[in-house]
């Protein structure tokens, strides 16, 4: 039976009122100092009970709030695993490197994965891959073998990054939600495009590029890889014939501008969820909107801390959901 999210969506509607709007972002940009920004965010309910939190603690508390709210709203968080896989695979990367380099990874783990980072580390250390969730098992073995045999950290990274994108897409298809599928597809496609550009700039071989690119529905990775093994113009030429044609101009400016294009496209695509009353879409849209908000706040706070001017920050800010 299809799950009914009526209660959860009604609560999310009320929560959307406290999302930061463009006006709030302008107020943050207009703040005279980093401390004033922190005070403004604190007044908006950001952070935990501790009034002396720094930006990193505040934003980390905000991410945890997203997941504690989702746990309250639904008894099954698995459709949202797509959003948690990034943390899982980050923790896997940290664990594999910590084990092979014999360093203590405490403090390096992300908190909102589907499995506790310390447990992933323990499993990798003991070579007990069966303890790991399905989506981490094979990449963990592959990355460990690659790192132990070659000592190549970059190879280990591409194995894990590609596995993350594949796991996200496959989980998104299981969720049956358009928003979650779109999120996974855009994440995979933008990662592939960025990887292709980076590989072209560093002169990587076609084999390496093919290994690094994750399959996705909106891009033909073989053609993208071939283009990346030739020149940037070939990449632009290939993308011009895809649904990412409008991203080419952004890509020509800088990778950051391209990331902004991707984030704006995602935010724009989830806006219709504001009028959906029954399905999972508005919950997924809320998670994306909150992550986007946290990203914007992090950018503003680090700029304020480093005395960058508001115009420069403004150019890099993404559109907001509300």
């Amino acid at each position: 039976m299809k799950k009914d999210y009526t209660y959860a969506v009604a609560r999310i509607r009320s929560r959307e009122l406290s999302l930061l709007s463009r006006k709030d972002i302008d107020n943050l940009l207009g703040a005279r100092s980093y401390e004033e920004c922190i005070q403004y965010l604190s007044d908006k309910g950001f952070g935990g009970d501790d009034s002396n939190q720094d930006a990193s603690e505040m934003l980390s508390a905000e991410r945890e709030k997203i997941w504690s709210l989702m746990a309250e709203l639904t008894d099954d968080l698995s459709p949202f695993d797509v959003f948690r896989f990034n943390d899982d695979f980050h923790n896997l990367k940290v664990s594999v490197k910590a084990v092979t380099r014999d360093v203590n990874p405490t403090g390096m783990f992300m908190k909102n994965g589907t499995m506790d980072g310390e447990k992933i580390y323990e499993a990798i250390k003991a070579h007990s891959y069966s303890v790991l969730p399905q989506h981490l098992r094979q990449p963990a073995q592959e990355a460990m073998t690659a790192l132990l045999q070659t000592g190549d950290g970059q190879l280990c990274d591409i194995i894990i990054d590609r596995a993350c994108l594949e796991a996200m897409r496959s989980k998104a298809k299981e969720s049956g939600s358009d928003v979650i599928e779109l999120y996974a597809e855009l994440t995979a496609a933008s990662a592939d495009i960025k990887t292709a550009v980076r590989c072209e700039k560093t002169g990587k071989s076609l084999d390496f590029i093919l290994r690094a690119l994750a399959p996705c529905d909106t891009l033909n990775v073989d053609m993208l890889a071939k283009a990346a093994s030739k020149s940037l113009d070939d990449i632009y030429g290939y993308l011009s014939g895809t649904s990412y044609a409008t991203a080419v101009d952004a890509l020509k400016i800088s990778p950051t501008e391209f990331e902004k294009w991707c984030d704006n496209k995602l935010i724009d695509s989830i806006k219709p969820q504001k009028s959906e009353p029954f399905k999972i879409g508005p919950l997924a849209a809320y998670i994306i909107a909150r992550e986007n908000e946290i990203k914007a706040v992090r950018l503003i706070l680090s700029a304020k801390l480093n005395d960058l001017n508001s115009a420069a920050i403004n150019e890099r800010l993404r559109d907001m959901y509300v």
């Binding site: 959860a8 509607r13 009320s14 009353p277 029954f278």
Partner: protein, 160 residues
């Protein structure tokens, strides 16, 4: 099988109550779930969301009204219970508009109320406009009630 008339008549009354009541229960239930979601975040909106929740309740009342009328006409609540099978079937037919229009309109009004609750949870000042939309669904339940009542009132006068 001499009393088939009252059997059909009673079946009509039961259908009017059961189907319209089921629709209202589903509609009110759905709107109630959404209302609880809003109240969990903002209890001050209780008065507004309660009105939305009650909108789909009327179909059940219309079904009950038609059922009462049929019961009194067929003599179950007193009077002469001897009615012909044809008249019994006519009462059954008279109950169908409110039974089915009540069922479906209440379910859809419930869905519409849920959407309206979402609207006022974000924009409480739009209460007037938000309530008009689910209220429009009521039109079709009222039309069905009208036809069911006209039929029930006029069946006894028919020469059958």
């Amino acid at each position: 099988m001499d009393n088939l008339g009252i059997v059909f008549g009673l079946l009509g009354a039961a259908l009017a109550t059961f189907l319209a009541g089921t629709g209202s229960a589903i509609g009110v239930g759905k709107a109630g779930v959404a209302a609880s979601g809003v109240l969990a975040e903002d209890p001050s909106k209780f008065g507004k969301v309660l009105i939305f929740q009650l909108l789909p309740a009327t179909q059940g009342i219309y079904g009950l009204l038609v059922a009462f009328l049929i019961l009194s006409k067929i003599g179950v609540l007193g009077g002469d219970p001897n009615i012909s099978a044809t008249k019994g079937l006519l009462y059954l037919a008279a109950s169908l508009p409110i039974a089915f229009a009540g069922l479906f309109s209440a379910i859809h009004q419930g869905n519409c109320s849920v959407a309206g609750i979402g609207t006022i949870s974000k924009k409480p000042d739009q209460f007037g406009k938000a309530i008009l939309l689910p209220a429009m669904v009521e039109t079709y339940a009222i039309l069905a009630l009208l036809i069911s009542m006209l039929a029930v009132f006029n069946i006894p006068g028919l020469n059958l």
